[in-house]
Each structure stands twice: as C-alpha cells, then as structure tokens.
C-alpha cells in the first residue's frame, strides 16, 4: 500500500503495481490527461510533473519525468501536475500568463511539461531557464518565446495559492508485508532482505530501470525501492574525503561538489536534464555499469572508491576495478553499492564531454583529467574516459607516459599517442572509432592548454562580443 498527494488530494493505493508509472496512473486512472507522453523514456519532458518531498521539515520541490517514475517511489510525497497549477478559481500562475502573452506555445503538446519545469524553477527561485528547460524539448517555437515568458514570470511573486504546496505529513502506513514490492526504510533491513532475495531488482531513481518497463516491456516481479532509506541519502566526510550515500541524487551531488570539486561542475550540469538529475542517483549511475555514464570517468579520475555491502559485511573497491566488462560489475549476489568515498584533493580536475548536443545527450567521449603538476613536472596523473571502451576506464599507459615528465605541449602530444594503446573504441551512432580516438587525444591537449587557466574552455563558455 502506498499513499501520496496528487494536486492536494490524498491518493491511497491498496495495490500499487511496481511496474506502473506515474504517467500511466495520471492519464489512465486519475484521468488527468494534461500530462503528456512524448517519448516514454525521460528524454523529452512532456510528462514533467513537480514532486514535493518533506526533507527534514522543509519542502523540496523537484521537476521530474513522470513517464519513468514508478508509483512506489511516491510514497509520502506530493505530486503537482499541470492541472494543479492554476488557483482553484481558475486564476493562472504567472508562468502560465507569461507563456500566453509571450506566445510560448504553438502545438501545445510540450507545453504542460514546460509549464511544470518553469513553475518549479519559479518556486525554487532558480533563474537559469536554459538549465531548467534542458530536459524539455519543443519542436515548434525554437524556444525563444518560452525563455522570454520565463524571464518575465521570474520577477513576479509566487501566487499565494501556490506557495502553500508544502507536503503535509502523511500518516505513517502500516507495514503490510504483502505488497508486490519491498520499500524498506532502514539500511539494515535492506541488507538482510537482499541477502535473502538476491534476485530482486533494487530501484533508486528508476531513470534506467524505468526504461526496462516502458521500452523493453519487462514486468519486474521482485522489486525493492531504496529511495526511502535515510542512510543511503546521507553525506558525511572529513578533511580528506567525502562519503556520499548511493541514493544521493545527481542533482544533490552536483550541488554538494560544486565547491569541493569544481572541475565536475559543467559535466554534472550537462548530465541528463534537471528532471533526470532530480531522480537519478550517484549509486545507480555507477551500479548499472554503463560504459557511457558520465559520473564514473570523473569519479575514477578523482580516485573514488565504492563501499559495497552484503549483509553486514562491507568491502571497499577502487571504482575503476568495479567495472569488469560490458555490463559486468564486480558485485556479488545480495551485495549493493552503499556509498562512494570521494577524495577531496583533486584541485586540477578537468572534465570534458563531447556529444552532438550540449544538453541532455549521451557522451560520444567523456574525458576526465586529474593531473598534478609540481615544478613543471607531472607528479601524478589519473585520466579516465567514458565512451572509449566497454566500461569507463583509466588511460593507464598514457598516465605512465606523462608521469614524471615535463608538462609541455611536446610531451603531452607525445603521451597522447599512447591513448591508441589504452583504447580501441567502437563506431556507433554517436561517433566513429577514429573520431573518438582523435577526440581523446585532442582533449588531453585541451587539458594541457587549459591548465594555465581556471576551468575549461569550450564553445559553450567562450565569451565573444558579436
């Protein structure tokens, strides 16, 4: 049994199919058809809704894709759809008003999702609308009038009727124990149960597993939702490292590391979209073993270690050693990723992502460089790539070739040739093998060029007067 609020009305589902998405529930059960299905895989944003959770007494509002959000993930939360944005008397929200007066809708099919992303940004007082809309595709307008609308609405206050959307405390549910899924609230409970049920599927944000349901059409039978376990969302640390719970969302991870690891900032900004980052978790991005997951190369370059837990036993493993082969990870039945331990010292980390599109694209190549220079010599080099092999991997030969050598253009170019030893990338719809190798080499060169300045230089942050 689960319960959540939907536009202020309590929904209590005695049977919640773990394969049922919020989008299908909205359209087919609740008959709220303002929320649209555009792609059913979290890439277009037409299904965006706002989910409010109660974190330590204050409400947190997040835009998420309802097409890959599974109902049990909503336990105890509040959902606001496009139907819940206007006042009960039908008065429009400033975002809605401005979208009309700025001519921000044409066919209107993406509009409900855009309204929800912007309403959420408005409520959270976030003004970077390119960021807020990175996960909302519009095929008609070219976006300019939507941005105009968002900018105009930003200066208007949150309407009174809408600012009261904090989550009321929902009554605690009795543990029925006969559900089609397991929803533990305690880490030890999970650990014990998973040993007994190693064939179960652990689901955190469902941004990957959701597609197994919507695209592979799988009916998952034994599912454990781990989003309600406080320990897994916890962040701790000391002056040497940060310990990040596996269920910390990518969005929260980005905020957390903005000051500690600024070199990851643009990479995380380009990770999926806000909707995806709000659901996706650090642990999930690692545990699914994708060769092109964007966090892993950065974390490997930093020297992150995973905390793997099985029952009451824990082991620690360097992240690069976790990935054995395509889709194969070093993880035992009943074992799960509990946390990531992230060294704080990576002041020269630089991460580059190459893809066809700036926002919400999968990397053709993601190159992360953590190279320490002392007295013009390379003291230490950790270089990791995504998209270059069957797993996110270190460029070990290249690292060796650089280490101890002068940090000069000639040396760097010469070391770059070793990338062809480190990697034999494939050709696919994202890029050819030759381009991938060329880019890997050029990114090392770019890292060298950028090492004389702060951050990275790309066409996206280049300041030119036109």
């Amino acid at each position: 049994m689960i319960q959540f609020n939907l536009n202020g009305k309590l929904q209590r589902l005695s049977v919640a199919n773990p394969n049922s998405t919020l989008l299908d529930y909205l359209r087919e059960i609740a008959l709220l058809r303002g929320t649209k299905e555009g792609c059913n895989e979290g890439d277009c944003g037409a299904c965006t809704v706002m989910v409010t959770s109660n974190a330590g007494g204050h409400a947190r509002h997040r835009a998420v894709n309802s097409c890959i959000l599974l109902l049990p993930q909503l336990q105890g939360k509040s959902v606001c759809t496009v139907e819940g944005v206007s006042s009960p008397e039908g008065e429009l929200h400033p975002v809605q008003e401005q979208m009309i007066s700025s001519h921000g809708s044409q066919c209107g099919f993406c509009t409900p999702g855009i309204i929800m992303s912007l309403v959420c940004a408005h409520l959270n007082r976030e003004r970077d609308h390119d960021l807020a809309l990175a996960g909302n595709l519009c095929r008609c307008t070219g976006y300019a009038p939507i941005i105009t609308a968002a900018d105009k609405a930003a200066s208007q206050p949150v309407p009174e009727w809408f600012s009261e959307t904090t989550t009321p405390e929902l009554p605690k549910l009795p543990s029925t124990g006969n559900d089609d899924f397991f929803l533990p609230e305690d880490i030890d409970e999970l650990a014990d149960w998973y040993i007994e049920n190693p064939d179960a599927r652990l689901v955190a944000g469902a941004t990957d597993v959701g597609l197994w349901i919507t695209k592979k059409l799988m009916d998952l039978e034994k599912v454990c939702f781990i989003g309600a376990i406080p320990e897994l969302s916890r962040v701790s640390g000391n002056d040497r490292e940060l310990v990040v719970g596996a269920s910390v969302t990518v969005e929260d991870f980005g905020r957390l590391t903005e000051s500690t690891h600024p070199g990851m900032k643009q990479l995380i900004r380009r990770f999926g979209s806000q909707q995806v980052r709000n659901s996706a978790t650090v642990g999930g991005n690692i545990a699914n073993g994708s060769p092109i997951g964007d966090l892993s190369p950065a974390l490997i370059a930093i020297g992150a270690r995973l905390v793997l837990r099985r029952g009451h036993q824990r082991r620690w493993i360097a992240l690069e050693d976790f990935f054995l082969d395509y889709g194969v990870q070093d993880i035992e039945p009943g074992e799960f990723v509990e946390a990531i331990r992230l060294p704080l010292a990576a002041p020269d980390l630089r991460c580059y992502k190459i893809s066809k599109r700036f926002d919400q694209d999968i990397s053709a190549v993601c190159g992360c460089f953590n190279i320490t220079i002392a007295d013009d010599l390379v003291e230490n080099a950790r270089i990791a790539f995504g998209g270059m092999a069957a797993t996110p991997s270190r460029a070990r030969t290249t690292e060796s070739a650089l280490t101890g050598r002068p940090w000069t253009a000639t040396e760097v170019n010469s070391a770059g040739h070793h990338l062809a030893t480190d990697f034999a990338p494939i050709s696919d719809m994202r890029a050819s093998a030759a381009y991938r190798l060329q880019i890997a080499r050029n990114l090392l060169h770019k890292c060298y060029l950028d090492s004389s300045r702060d951050g990275i230089s790309t066409v996206y942050n280049l300041e030119v007067a036109v």
Partner: protein, 773 residues
Amino acid sequence: MSSPTVHRAVAHDAARLHVSGRAAYVDDLEAAGRCLHLAFGLSTIARGKIVAMNLDAVKNHGGVQAVLTAADLPFANDVSPSPYPEPLLAVNEVHFLGQPVFLVVANSHRLARQATQLASIEYEEEEPLLDIDAALAANSMFADPLVYRCGDADGAMAAAAHRITGKITTGGQEHFYLEGQVAMATPTEHRGVMVQSSTQHPTEIQHKVADAIGVPMSSVRVEMRRMGGGFGGKESQGNAPACACAIAARLTGLPCRMRYDRDDDMVITGKRHDFRIYYEAGFDDQGRILAVRFVQYVRCGWSLDLSMPVADRAMLHADNAYHIPNMHISSYRLRTNTQSATAFRGFGGPQGMLGIERVLDHVSHFLDADPLCIRQRNFYPSMNSGIRHRTHYGMAVEDFVLDEIVSDLAKDACYSRRRADIRKWNRRNRYFKRGLALTPVKFGISFTLTHLNQAGALVHVYQDGSIHLNHGGTEMGQGLLIKVAQIAADAFGQPLNRVRISAADTEKIPNTSATAASSGTDLNGMAAKIACDEIVRRLKSFLAERHQVKPHNVIFRDGVFRVGTEDYAFCDTVKQAYLNRVSLSSSGHFVTPKLVWDRLKGQGRPFLYFAYGAAVTEVVIDTLTGENRVLRTDIIHDVGRSLNPAIDIGQIEGGFVQGMGWLTTEELAWDSRGMLTTHAPSTYKIPACSDRPRIFNVTLWQRGRNPENTIYRSKAVGEPPLMLANSVLLALSDAVAACGDSGTYPTLDTPATPERILTAIRRVTGEAVGSQA
C-alpha cells in the same frame, strides 16, 4: 487600415488551454465505452520473404483480443497516398526493418505492445539496399530520372572562364512531432466509422479508411481538432494507424485506439529525404554564374509515398534566389529498403536550395570573394527593376524583393564590420574560429500538384449573431485557426470572441487538401472570406430590399450596416434576416488562380508567388573537438502583410531552429542490417533550449506586401523560414575554412556534427583524416 482583428498579434486560440493542460489531443479523448488498443508487430529484417509466421504466443498473451495479418484484412490492404501501393500489413515479403507485419488488438496499450514481441517469424533474407550507392548499383528506382533544363548548360559550361565541381550530402530528418502518430475509431450506424486522427489530411484518412473497411467515403467521418505537431509527418503517415483502428473497430464493434510508442514511431514512419547532389558550375571572374549542372540522388525508401513531388520541388528550388541562364538538373528517385521518406517542412525545397547555396559558397571561396557580394551579383532582377527573368522551369520571377531584404539585413546586422572583426579575431585565436554567413530564401508557394490548390469553408451565423467557423485546414500549432478566425471576424466586423473555431471535420468540408505546402492560410483563409462575404452580401441585399435601395448603397463597415443615414448593427440585422427567412449559412470555395504546370516537361507556372527571407548567422567552432555554437542570428523575413505578426514570428523562429537541427545535431543512423539506430530522443538530438542562437533577432519585413491578390496581401510562412538555417551551415563552413590557408574548400556535409566539422577541419588544414596528429 485599422482592423481590430487582422494584422494584430493575437495569441494562439488555444494558448490558454495549452498552458493549463486542457487542450485535448487525440489520445486525450474519452472513448465511448470500453476501448481496445492496437500495436503493430514489426519486421525485424530489412528485406526478405516471409516463409512462416507463428503468432500463437501473440494470440495467447493476456488481454489479446485479436491478431491480424494481411490475409485477415477484409478489404483494401493499402495506405498509400500515391498510385503506387503501400500495404498496411506486409504481404509475403518485407521491404524495411520496422515494416508492420501484423496487428495486435488488446485490452491495453501495454499488453498489445508486449504481445507484438512474442511473434515467431521466419524470413528468407535478401541483401537489403540501404543507401544511395546500393540503390544505384542495383538500378533500384521508382521512375526514370527526371530532367529539367534551360539554356545550353554544356555550351555555357565549356565557355566559362572558371569551373568547379563538387558534391554535397544532406542528411534526412525525423519530424519528432512531440505527439506521435495516434488515431481512434468508433463504429457508427450502417457500418460506418468515426475516426479521430492526428492528421494533416483528414480527407486522405477518410479515403483510405473507406477502402480499408469497404464502405463509401460518405460512411466515414474524420475529425481533427489539433495535432501536437505535424511538420509534414502527418500528411500521409497517419493513414496506417487510422486504417488499423477502423478495421479493428469494425471487427470488434468497439472503439479502438492506437498510438505509436516513440521508438515504434521513429522506426515505422518516414522522414525527410536524404540527398546526394553532384554539382558543376561555370562562372566568370566576377563570380557571375553562367551554367550549373546538378545531379540529385534522392533516397526515397521502400515505397513511393510523396517522393515524386518532393523530388520535383527539390529541382524547382535548385536556383533559389539566383538567375542562372543555363541549367541542367537530373533527379534520381531511388528505392531503398529503409523507411519510406515522406513530406517534411520544405518538401524537397531545402535540399534543392542547399545545393545552389553550396555552389555559391564554393564559387566565392574559389574567387576568394565575399560570398554576399557573389550572391547579390547573381540575384534575380528586383521587382522594381522592370526586368523579368524566368526560372529554369519557365516561370517569370515578378515579385523579387531579396535585393531589398538582403541589403536591409546586411545593414541591420552590421555584416561587413563583423566580417572584418571575425577575420581579425580568427587570426588571434588558434583553437577557436568564428564564421559568418548570410543566405537568402526564395520559396515557391502552391502545391505543385495543381488540383490540390483548392479549399472549402463553412460559416454559420446564428440568430444571436454568433459565428461558427469551419474549414478544411488542420491545426498543428501553426496558428492557422486563429488566423482564419481573425479573417472571419474582420469580414463581419465582429470581435474575435464572437467567432467559434471548430475542428476540421469531413462532414462539414469535403474533399479537402492536406494542410501542407505552407498553403493553409492562403487557401482556407480565402475560402472562409468567400463564405463570410456571401453572408454579408445576403444581409446587404436583405437590407436593400427592406429599405428599397440598391444593394451597393448598403455600406458595411466595422460591423455596422449603413443605409442612407441609418445604422444597423450586425446582430440586429442578423436577427431580422433570420425572421425574414434569409439563409445565414454559406460555404466558400477557393481556387488558386494562374497555375499552369507540366511536371514532366518541367515547364509552366507551378507557383502563385514566392516567399522571401534572409538570415545572417555567426558561429564559433572548437577546432580540437568540432563542437560549435550559434552565437547570433538575424533574420528579416517577408510574410507580405502579416495577418498575425506574433504567429508569423513564431513560425520563423521555430522554422529556423528546426532547420538548424536538420543541418547540425539531427543525425539519423542505420546499422548494416538496416536497423535505424537513432530511434529515440536519447540518440536522435533535436535542438534543445540552449541550442537556440544566443542572440536571435527576427523581424518581419516591414515593406512586405504580396503583389498577388492573396488574403489581405499576406504570404505563406510555414515552410520558407526553415531554409533560413542554411546560414548556420555556411557559417560553420566559413569557420572551418578559416582554419586553413591551403585554399581547400571545406565541403562540409550535413548534419554538421562535431565529428563532420572536425573532419572538415582536418581536410582544410591538410591533415589526412584519421591520421595521428
């Protein structure tokens, strides 16, 4: 003129519904009672014979009500919009990977989709023809190559001082309408059916559905209130789901609905045609082009669909804005084992136009001249010059205004200064290069299939003076319905809110043409005006009779009839007319004048007029990665006298960004088996919000006025702005050219992904592609 309704930036009629989630699309409509859901089982190979099909597991899947193959179809198995057949379900053989082979009818969308995965089909595979080279090698064509020509291309080429040759490849494009293909059919009395379909062409749906269930067209009603985007992708591609729903509804007696999952949609439906164009151009020292020869190879996919008129239009736009006295264009319509390419905004125009824009750019590079000067030097003579040159298909260009638009744009956007600045900047920057390009658009308006240039409207005035407006045009977001409502409101001098906009409905307007070819407002607006004017005429003659004056002495202005010195309000007049048994309902029918066209000879006047516009775009590229960004775009576009400036600017901005996507990030890829590997937005990248030009100035050309007698002297705006994005490609090419001093022309193909840009950079810098730097 100060009409309170036309020429005003009125919001889209459904804007308030859009933003509150209350605008209903086909899949949002409630079925009348229990409803069944459909899904297609798709071919898993690109070409071969079906040897055996075992669908037992499909039939036994929970919730499945029926499974149909071609053999089970009661009547026509054909969803083709052309005379060339295109089966709804494959008959004995399959022609592309993704072709519908069987149809599942089930209790839910998910159950139907799941069931489709359980089929066991044995094929005898044949080698598929996947690309242009394979089709050419196998001589796989839909028709003999078509040739359009003017002058003596051979002679002029031989005599020219300079010659260049080259090749440009343009990629296809997925429509990516946010709302996928969807239809619902509900059985009605006397074996009829009511179809709600997301379609640009209700009459085509009606026609194909009638054939599919063996009834006359009069037994099929098709209704279309709004689409969630169309872009040409719903001109013919909606036939299959609509026919499937109608067949299943007839079979089961229940409402049936079908929506393609996005991945299925991308795998099944047609896309923009990809082209390979070879060119040869002869020109003089000043860059005046004397002769051009084009060979256009068009990948049409497995069925004919609309490929003939698409390929024709590419030939018709091979001159764009330039008068080229000697031209020879041959066009090959190649049949391949891939999705059947279909209509897409521009309809072949963009590809044809890009061919000549490439030639102009290449010529300028050859002469080391400013491409803008070379372009201007080759323009058709100005409308005001009194000189009329003919196009290569014999149509006199009488309305040419690009000379004025381009000079306005070059001035407003500081073209010359920026070109100099960029040159300086590029000298100082080794790793980043900027590029600038100004390109014009001249786009012919009218369907090239002449009989399609007609439209109908139906207008009722009720006794309270409220107005019901209906016409054959469909709304896909382009603002057609609000524009026509503005026209009707103005015709009656009534406020806009007195006009009730209604769904396109084949029971109200028969024999409609697709809402396509940018013609929606030109045709339907004029038809509506004719209908409104007829009612006004009757009201005038009613008043004339009542007051014993001549009808022409009854003046109607701003909603008031004046007879002598007396004024009669519209509503009062309507009421009186009703009481005196005057008909207050009228249809209107409009036919585009002046069109004469022989498509085989390539001679005549296929278009009523041309729409014009120009764009100047500045980009920056990263020479280490090929990444790029549009920094600024300035556009001046001619919509004649704009019916609704807000809607028109929206079309221009949206069309430009869509064109930019086609030329940059949107890349379709097929694997060696013919599987489309970019079948979802995860792998197929349309422009996102942050891709729009950082600075984006769009203006309507203020002096615009259509010399032809179109509705309020406006011009069509749907397709032409897409081709303004040619400036993006050529600005990228300009930036690439700045990387080298070897004199090598970049020959940048599309889509210009970071990879293609990097490859072009290596070409101009003389590094062999793929070599170790």
